[in-house]
């Protein structure tokens, strides 16, 4: 964090819930009294493209964009996407990464290679990396759509406001619109929070 501004970059692929996660972070920060800006470039994202959502909050935020080397937190919903955006992370920043691998058709077709060990590459750069299989946790809880809440739980102890605030923001949102899913999302948040503490040093990603 610099100049009292927190910069969070959420990255993944269209359809993974990247923009929703960023929206929840932005709304929660707004409720905490911060000035907030959130932006993304996702024009054709629904068609399998890269999505990056920038969330900035502090006493006064001008530009919505996070510059290279300026992100305090990088939340990667997919392993190679986290690696793609590594240059945006501060050397002292934290990367919270879902180990999921989603190779695109151009990789499947043999035109490009998927990085052999994106998590290892992230860790080798010197940033603090926390990587875990959010999909596996979601499956254990019985709903693959919980990945979003799990990832938010995982970063909840790395924010300038308390994890409880973020959790309440998510759970209340579900209580208002999808009450049946409130409890399971609370569980998912806690499971993610626990997973987010395990630090990756010489991690080898699951294949």
């Amino acid at each position: 964090m610099r100049d009292g501004i927190t910069n969070i970059l959420v990255v993944g692929i269209g359809g993974q819930g990247v923009m929703t996660a960023a929206e929840i972070l932005a709304r929660t920060a707004l409720c905490q009294g911060y000035d907030v800006k959130k932006t993304e470039v996702a024009g054709m994202a629904q068609r399998g493209g890269v999505v990056s959502s920038h969330v900035r909050f502090g006493s006064k935020v001008y530009s919505p964009q996070i510059d290279a080397g300026e992100a305090d937190l990088l939340i990667g919903f997919e392993a190679a996407e986290a690696l793609r955006w590594l240059p945006h992370l501060r050397p002292t920043g934290v990367a919270m990464v879902n180990t999921l691998r989603l190779p695109p058709p151009v990789v499947s077709a043999g035109l490009y290679d998927y990085p052999a060990d994106p998590i290892g590459d992230l860790a080798a750069s010197g940033v603090e990396v926390h990587a875990f299989d959010a999909g596996a946790i979601a499956e254990e809880l019985g709903n693959s759509k919980l990945v979003n809440t799990i990832m938010l739980g995982a970063i909840s102890d790395y924010l300038p406001f308390s994890a409880e605030v973020l959790k309440a923001s998510i759970v209340e949102g579900f209580r208002a619109y999808k009450p049946k899913l409130a409890d399971i999302n609370a569980q998912a948040f806690d499971a993610g929070r626990e997973a987010g503490h395990a630090k990756t040093t010489t991690h080898r990603s699951a294949t």
Partner: protein, 622 residues
């Protein structure tokens, strides 16, 4: 109902620029709003549609949208038209004359420039239209300003009887930021159309006397620009460089040079040249930071004020802090080196068509037929130019496919002699501006095979409604155009109008082959809905029986993102030639059970693991 729609004055909300425009339109008492979808402006009308006090519609194109707004304005209603930058080109015929005649009810055109081309075929600067059409331009820098300036624009429009342009960019439209509401809806009475032929019938005799009035209006706006509170000087301690800027570039300047004086132009056309001159006198060097053309810079220089700008800044793209720093720092004698970072080498992830996309079938066909020149259009099907189809040869603008194909047919060169000319266009684009091209081709005895890909949706912008979907902007039932009857009415012979289920690959390949051989225009119309819309029904996923897969790779050629290469093997054929076999697998999470790939698989290796409990396939639309 939506929380923002119900929100009271003095409440705070996290809103995109587009949502802020919608709320402002409602508060301003807008009674009619019209648009055609286009990134990054689409959500303006989608959000206006949430307010029941406003009549809102998807018009068939931007020119129609502006004309609808003009008509409402002449009846005394406040009206708004929204569009992306290229939509202004289409709409310009209407507003270029209406700015001469003027307006009655406030008329605001909100235009969204896709600076940086996140989802557009070009980058263009809509601020030219203000100069060209003698209309003032307001440029919000964030959501709060979008909210305030749209309301202000309506007041100005009525006071000066002129359409007002609100120029947004992607970085205002799609950025969410805090907006504090200061009001609720003010209902405005519409007096009704007051007949006045000298004012509203723009014949040469009536238009000519309007010209001096228009120039007098320009003079008033030049005066207003000097005093209006939207053009604000922010003092700064470091006077080595003073910035003149507008729109989101203002935010980037403040972020990058927090101690520099800044003159922010919220009312940027016409610019306040005296104010700029006075500001320039207080700083060592004046720098204009504007996206994207050097418009203000040229006008300031023409006024005899020394100014820097595009000599150091890029002439296209966003002027984000990462761009400003290396460009401006050297002017301060502070060389700035872009920090060297190990750039991770990661594969590209280009946008692709979706699983069970009804465009996959036609492109499978086009990629398997030789000797075609394939003239494309604007929509998801533009992706047909990419891997693995490589079956689209041009893309220019909305509706261009049919007319360009006709021109290519008439202007055939040496290498085209044995080629067949094909035009590919979607339902919404056809209705937007494609119909005229078909009519023209018929009238002039052209010979083009048209693929009209009717997926009942404006796909690329997120599945909006159009006259071909049977629903309106509000999701209510609406008359649905009959494409077969329409093209027959334009003059295509009934024998040459072929309806086809795009999932039936052998049929569509055969049809395209047949029709391209004809010596007259034909139209092949597909009939499956976009797989991202509610009209699409998801069925049980398929799987590849590995033992039965022969590695032919036919299913991979379909380009479905649910089909992956499981493994590759190189074998030696009897002829001694080595051949690569590509074995497929289907991702069960992505597959929607459309069965298209089954049609490519001779050894019948693609099956549904659990038998379907219903023996139906997704039904094509009537």
């Amino acid at each position: 109902m939506n929380a923002v729609v119900q929100a009271k004055a003095e409440s705070r909300h996290l809103l995109s620029g587009n949502e802020a425009v919608a709320r402002a339109a409602w508060e301003a008492g807008v009674r009619v709003a019209a648009a055609y979808p286009g990134t990054p402006a689409t959500e303006i009308l989608e959000n206006i549609a949430l307010y029941p006090d406003i009549y809102s519609e998807w018009s068939v194109n931007e020119k129609v949208a502006v004309e609808v707004a003009i008509g409402a304005s002449l009846a005394g209603s406040r009206a708004l038209a929204a569009m992306k930058h290229v939509g202004m080109n289409v709409a310009s015929d209407a507003f270029m004359t209406q700015s001469l005649a003027g307006v009655v009810g406030g008329l605001v055109i909100v235009v969204a420039d896709d600076v940086g081309l996140s989802s557009s075929q070009n980058e263009q600067d809509s601020r030219y239209w203000g100069r060209f059409g003698h209309m003032p331009i307001l440029e919000p820098a964030d959501s709060q300003e979008a909210y305030e300036m749209v309301k202000r624009a309506f007041d100005l429009s009525e006071e000066y009887e002129v359409p007002v342009i609100v120029r947004m960019t992607t970085r205002v439209c799609h950025v969410k930021a805090m907006v504090e509401f200061d009001g609720e809806r003010t209902e405005r009475r519409a007096a009704g159309f007051q007949k006045n032929p000298q004012r509203w019938v723009m014949t040469p005799a009536n238009a000519k006397p309007r010209l001096p009035l228009m120039h007098e209006r320009d003079r008033k706006f030049r005066e207003l620009s000097e005093t209006i509170d939207l053009n604000i000087a922010f003092p700064g301690g470091d006077r080595r460089i003073g910035f003149v800027t507008a729109g989101p570039a203002f935010m980037h300047v403040r972020e990058t040079f927090p101690n520099a004086p800044v003159l922010k132009l919220g009312f940027s056309c016409p610019p306040p040249l005296d104010k700029i001159r006075a500001f320039a006198g207080q700083v060592d060097t004046l720098v204009v930071v504007e996206e994207t053309e050097l418009l203000l810079e040229t006008e300031i220089r023409a006024a005899g004020i020394a100014v820097r700008g595009k000599d150091v800044l890029p002439r296209f793209g966003e002027l984000a802090p990462s761009v400003l720093r290396p460009a401006i720092k050297p002017l301060l004698g502070e060389p700035w080196e872009v920090p060297k970072r190990a750039q991770a080498s990661v594969f590209p992830r280009p946008p692709t068509m979706c699983a069970s996309c009804p465009h996959l079938g036609p492109y499978f066909a086009l990629s398997h037929i030789r000797n075609l020149n394939i003239i494309g259009d604007i929509g998801c099907y533009t992706l047909g130019a990419g891997h693995p189809w490589n079956a689209l040869d041009t893309c220019t603008c909305m509706g261009a496919s049919l007319s360009m194909a006709h021109g290519m047919d008439k202007g055939r060169g040496e290498s085209d002699e044995k080629k067949h000319i094909v035009a590919v266009i979607g339902d919404s684009t056809f209705l937007h501006m494609g119909m005229q091209g078909l009519l023209n081709m018929i009238y002039n005895r052209g010979n083009v095979t048209v693929l009209l890909l009717d997926n009942r949706s404006v796909g690329m912008t997120g599945g909006q409604e159009n006259p071909g979907t049977g629903e309106d902007l509000h999701g209510l039932p609406a008359p649905r155009v009959d494409f077969a009857k329409l093209v027959e009415g334009l003059g295509v012979r009934p024998e040459r109008i072929r309806m086809v289920d795009p999932y039936e690959l052998p049929t569509i390949v055969k049809l395209v082959r047949e029709e391209t051989k004809m010596e007259e225009p034909s139209v092949i119309i597909t009939n499956r809905p976009c797989s991202l819309t509610d009209r699409f029904e998801r069925l049980q996923p398929y799987a590849v029986i590995d033992d039965q897969c022969t590695g032919c790779g036919n299913c991979i050629d379909l380009g479905c993102p649910a089909i992956f290469v499981a493994r590759r093997e190189t074998v030696t054929a009897k002829s001694g030639k080595s051949k690569e076999l590509v074995f497929a697998r289907i991702d069960a999470n992505t597959c929607t059970g459309c069965h298209m790939c089954v049609e490519t698989c001779a050894p019948e290796a693609i099956v549904q693991p659990q038998p379907q409990n219903r023996v139906i396939r997704i039904q094509p639309h009537a």
